[in-house]
């Protein structure tokens, strides 16, 4: 079974101080000084695929994993790590375009790559990235490929060569279904959020495998990109205030304050649990 996991390296926005959020004259916030991290949902998706690979052999299913990203050379460090974690192929679509708010373009590149260059049985993506927050790419990829899409996936288990057991979050609980491939899986708030770490020996042995780099221009996205750019124009940025009302508990001693806190604010909530 061929499975491709799409990921994106995003700026670690937690590193920005309040003053760093000031937009420049082009209405852009400078993110160039913060380190990159794996987008959290993508990190879950990558680890989910590796966990599936760990157990697939017991089901006589050979999982062939490809890691896929669109971006510049900064993403190579993640692709090397994924090689060291035994991904069979690592692909980067070279692009310096700002695609944060254009999921149509991203989805077009992914679907074209799978349709025309490297056929896959399953595509796994994080449901959205922290910088664009569009939440559309997995659905658009599924639509373009005319494949079914399962959203809010939290677990993938092996089934047969042509199917997977997929658990996703639904209103009021979780649902486990057997899904026939091909399919798109959009990973949500999975219980596992961190990617495992390769050993130095595996980094040396596998981490130097050449990354397949393709130019984004070969996907003929320029017209679509221009359309997207003209379709929406940023007019202004305004800070949203997230201040919440607070209460200062008055009391003579910490014991008295703790008692008031418990009696007035916690007791009722705890009893409902």
């Amino acid at each position: 079974m061929k499975m491709m996991v799409c990921f994106k390296a995003v700026p670690d926005l937690e590193m920005l101080s309040e003053e760093d959020w000031a937009a420049d004259s082009n209405l852009k916030v400078d993110l160039s000084f913060v380190r990159n991290i794996l987008n959290c949902f993508d990190e879950s998706a990558l680890e989910m695929a590796l966990k599936l690979s760990d157990v697939s052999e017991g089901f006589d299913v050979l999982l062939n994993l490809t890691a896929f990203t669109i971006g510049d050379q900064k993403s190579d460090t993640y692709l090397k790590t994924l090689y060291a974690l035994r991904f069979k192929k690592a692909v980067r679509i070279e692009s310096n375009e700002d695609l944060r708010f254009f999921p149509d373009v991203t989805a077009t590149v992914i679907s074209q790559y799978v349709r025309e260059i490297n056929h896959q049985d399953v595509i796994v993506l994080g449901r959205q990235s922290g910088e664009g927050d569009n939440g559309k790419t997995p659905l658009l990829v599924a639509e373009m490929l005319e494949w079914p899409c399962i959203t809010q996936v939290i677990r993938i288990e092996p089934d047969t060569e042509g199917s997977l057991k997929v658990t996703n979050m639904v209103d009021g609980g979780t649902l486990t279904q057997t899904i026939t491939t091909p399919c798109v899986l959009s990973v949500g708030n999975a219980p596992n959020s961190y990617l495992r770490v390769p050993t130095l020996k595996d980094k040396m042995k596998y981490g130097k495998t050449p990354i397949e780099v393709l130019d984004i221009q070969q996907f003929n996205i320029q017209a679509l990109l221009d359309d997207c750019r003209h379709g929406c124009e940023l007019k202004g940025l305004e800070k949203i205030s997230h201040k919440r009302q607070g209460i200062i508990i008055e009391g003579e001693t910490p014991r008295e304050k703790a008692r008031i806190l418990y009696d007035s604010y916690l007791k009722e909530r705890l009893e409902k649990l």
Binding site: E14, V34, K74, T77, T199
Partner: protein
């Protein structure tokens, strides 16, 4: 005859009252360790002897009464405040210990801006003290990574050092006076004066004693003007550690005092700097103080760095952003627990020091041996973060995957063998096996080699001040079998 657990608790209740004597089982388990055994803690497996009680003390008199009781009945006492120790210093190595918790002694006694000193009880959080000082235009100048967690008593007891040490020094350069209680119940106070030559500097009996000689109850530290508006950050990339160490040396030898002077190797730096220095060493300085001094310091460092062709300057905003996110707060500690549990990948540090002529050899030897000899290693690197005119430290960072190992085996399979390599290589080269975390309980095996002939002084101190050996058994000095 030794007191039973129940008799110990009864004795403590008589001294302190029931409310200050904690015997909750989970609290006792968690109080049997520190961050050296963080994996055992995450797994809920506690292998150390569980203490008889944790006592919450509120003043020096209470500490005196508790220590006297322990001394008379030969009960091990483990002093603690902020619980951010990393080297096993808070482990209760023997049965029925008493953990004496000073975190409730959290009054800032006096801020004296005229004499530029601040006095506080042992449980005052460094973050709280420094935030308060900064509001008034002052600072302690002490900024260890544990700043949000650590408290003043523990910082002095472990001979702590902060990220601004090249300018302000370690805690030993900041402590003016100190109050401490000895095992016989004697409450001693070293007065606050700028300097004196009335015999040996007895502050150093107390600073760095790691709770193995006495209990620190109050600390007076120097304070400094806080002028962040003058801070100048400088950052460079290099291909190798050697020229970076040469630049650090030259800055020190020429007499400049940046507050921050750090050199990261590519492995250690990857976590912080991969977005601008992937695969490279990173050299960082911060100049601070009065504007003219900060500017002159920065200019001189730039001139020194410019002499090295391979040293490439980077945008200072990279360095400022990194510096603003360096400290470990409770949120980061909580996140780390989840990450370790999920990935089964865990990291620790070992910090050593050496003169300029040996530090690079120590760095190379340790990295090579750990990479080659330790199974499942995922990262081995290091940085120099505290430099002096005669040498620098090396702060080794290492991570490994936990493979086929029970929680209680983690230390013996991975952590201790790594520590052993680093300590042995450092001592062999002539460096010190501990730069600023304290000896704790897991580097005591090499304490004689560390001290060489001066071990006599250390051993005599222990015999003199703690003749019954009740203070934090197994810390600094190994337990005699």
């Amino acid at each position: 005859m030794a007191l039973t657990r129940a008799q110990i608790v009864e004795g403590l209740v008589k001294i302190l009252g029931e409310e200050k004597v904690i015997t909750d089982e989970q609290v006792l388990k968690e109080s049997s360790i520190d961050r050296f055994r963080k994996y055992e803690d995450i797994c809920g497996v506690y292998t150390q002897p569980i203490p008889a009680a944790v006592v919450k003390i509120e003043n020096a008199q209470e500490v005196s009464a508790v220590l006297k009781f322990a001394n008379e009945n030969i009960i091990n006492v483990v002093p603690r405040t902020g619980q951010s120790a990393t080297e096993g210093g808070l482990e209760t190595a023997v049965e029925n210990s008493i953990v004496v918790d000073g975190s409730g002694m959290n009054k800032i006694v006096k801020i004296d801006p005229y004499n530029m000193q601040a006095t506080c009880e042992c449980g005052v959080s460094l973050q709280v003290l420094d935030d308060l000082l900064r509001e008034q235009g002052y600072t302690t100048g002490h900024s260890p990574q544990s700043k949000p967690l650590a408290q003043m008593g523990g910082l002095v007891a472990t001979r702590s050092i902060g990220q601004l040490s090249t300018l302000y020094g370690g805690i030993e350069d900041m402590v003016v006076g100190v109050e401490a209680v000895f095992p016989n119940g004697e409450i001693t106070r070293i007065k606050n004066v700028p300097r004196r030559a009335a015999g040996p500097d007895i502050r150093h009996v107390i600073i760095g004693n790691e709770g193995a000689l006495c209990y620190i109850t109050e600390v007076t530290v120097k304070i400094f003007k806080y002028m962040p508006e003058n801070n100048i950050f400088l950052g460079y990339t290099l291909e190798n550690m050697k020229p970076g160490l040469e630049i650090l040396r030259e800055v020190m030898v020429e007499g400049y005092k940046p507050s921050v002077a750090r050199l990261y190797d590519p492995e250690d730096g990857a976590y912080h700097f991969s977005h601008f220095a992937d695969g490279k060493c990173v050299l960082i300085f911060m100049a601070e103080g009065p504007k003219a001094i900060a500017e002159a310091t920065a200019k001189a460092i730039e001139e020194i760095a410019a002499k090295y062709d391979e040293c490439k300057k980077v945008d200072t905003q990279f360095i400022k952003t990194w510096f603003d996110h360096l400290n470990w707060d409770p949120k980061k500690v909580a996140e780390e627990r989840i990450e370790i549990a999920e990935t089964q990948n865990i990291g620790f540090t070992t910090e050593v020091s050496g003169n300029w002529d040996i530090i690079h050899d120590i760095y190379e030897a340790c990295c090579e041996r750990v990479r080659n000899e330790i199974p499942d290693i995922t990262m081995m690197g290091g940085h120099s973060s505290h430099s002096y005119v005669n040498g620098t430290n090396m702060y080794f960072m290492y991570y490994y995957n936990l493979v086929d190992v029970e929680p209680e085996e983690e230390i013996t399979k991975y952590h201790n063998p790594i520590n052993k390599i680093i300590v042995e290589e450092t001592l062999k080269a002539g460096g010190s096996m501990v730069h600023h975390h304290g000896v704790g309980k897991h580097r005591t095996h090499w304490i004689k080699e560390e001290y060489e002939s001066s071990y006599y002084i250390l051993e005599t101190l222990k015999k003199a001040f703690d003749p019954n050996g009740i203070m934090n058994m197994g810390t600094i000095l190994p337990i005699k079998k």
